[in-house]
Symmetry: C2
Subunit: 326 residues, 2 copies
Amino acid sequence: VTERAAADLRRVVALAGGVGGAKLAHGLAALVGDRLTVIVNTGDDTERHGLLVMPDHDTVMYTLAGIANRQWGWGIEGETYNADEFLAKYGQETWFRLGDRDLATAMVRTARLRDGGRLTDVVRGLQRAHAVGPAILPMTDTPVRTEVRTDDGWLDFQEYFVHRRQEPAVHEVRFVGVDAARATPEVLDALATADVVVLAPSNPFVSVAPILAVAGVREALSDARGRGVSIGAVSGIIGGKALKGPADRMLTSLGHEGSALGVARLYAGFVDVFVIDRVDEALASAIEALGMRVVVTDTVMDDDPGRARLAGELLAAVDGATRTAA
Amino acid sequence: VTERAAADLRRVVALAGGVGGAKLAHGLAALVGDRLTVIVNTGDDTERHGLLVMPDHDTVMYTLAGIANRQWGWGIEGETYNADEFLAKYGQETWFRLGDRDLATAMVRTARLRDGGRLTDVVRGLQRAHAVGPAILPMTDTPVRTEVRTDDGWLDFQEYFVHRRQEPAVHEVRFVGVDAARATPEVLDALATADVVVLAPSNPFVSVAPILAVAGVREALSDARGRGVSIGAVSGIIGGKALKGPADRMLTSLGHEGSALGVARLYAGFVDVFVIDRVDEALASAIEALGMRVVVTDTVMDDDPGRARLAGELLAAVDGATRTAA
């Protein structure tokens, strides 16, 4: 059923952040190949040593290229850190660790942007070099930078996320530069021609929300729903805990319920199918009451088959919803 | 005698290019420590992957820091090339190989220049990070780029030197940007307070000549001689062959004698002491006829003691010339 459903789908678009997004994208790519387009968050991009580092884009790219570090989920398998050691010697801040190969990615990207390249074109070139089939599209070509307000004031996202290990409670989130940002033609085209749209199990506040905040994205999603496309989402919260990152703590510190239900409420109104983990089965009826169809399954993507299985169940449910609606 | 002479000297200034210059500088530093100042050629600097690479400066810096690759003379001992492999994958030209640590040097330099730093200040900071005692001064803070005219037309220096392995015959040399270049305050101060000035056994056309071509340098050398400072030079040509690089072939293709005498003629009029190798002893009287005092010794700097010995003989001879003149 899953395989046939996937084969029927023409275009799948996933909105994704970092590690969780990359894993789901990998599962989706295993099913639909380059009929998948991933729209990635650029709000946690950062300048390091004069280079543009794009953690979410690069994590998805390395994962789809099959070269991501399996244990960490980010970075490159077998990576070395010899440049980083020298950077530290030169007095550079190196709490954001960058491997030698990863720095090469940032170097080439930065050089091509300085030569006048457009962000989307530049990163598409990097993806092709890694023989990545699906398009990985930055949500916008202009800089957007996520900041979080803590008891220590507003912090750059990576200062909060990496340097302070997500320890300060987050009271507010903002996306600096988002007012000037526009969805790219590629993003709008992907959404306009999508048969299925899915939100990856990424942090709703700092991975998914920045994408939705870019002018044109919500309208395009709304248009897609208007023509019968369903939107699916996977909860990244399992038994009240985020598999990775601070989404569970951010839910509560931002005034929401720290559970899959809390995430579902954030997506109520534009998500049609919501996938939760078996351990959260008790939340299903409350989520259904929000107007969503609920799928209960194993949402931990331990290995490649696990990624493809979850992707398949998600696609089947969302596609089923599409057909029902149609 | 050598040790005492070295101890007496207050300030030694060396004009240097890459590997040969780095070796002599290393020998000089062993004798006079941070009373040595090295003025380096920047004409073979190059932009790679958006980063400013300074081969001569970095070779001298790594050599004085004791971390240079002993076999090659350039690069860093134990260097890795993982970023370079990725750069190639991304379609970057990688015939100019850059190690992971070396790229970190270029990254930090480029980032600090883009932040508004002055070249001399930026590289002095890098040198301090490596605990290098002697100051290594770029000849100027603005870009100068050496180009050579071959049968294939004008070539960037590194295109000729690295990519084409110095194979095309050189008919002409030019230093693009040198008209706008000025010697830095640090370079002028070093020359104004020098007790001894030496030209390293570097290529006269593409290592020493660019330094001499910068406005202010020849005048400062002339002023130094006016106050009784002698200038010494070491021939990089031994038995008609350059120890490294194309200096021997450039001598002949540019219309000079391909020998230490050919080099001496280029320096006649402002160099007081000329050091040649034992194998070239027969040239001594012809060089003396140019008005130079000639020192005949072993000029191959095989190891650290060899570097310090040559540096000591050079200093003793130049200092002796100074005292005789005074």
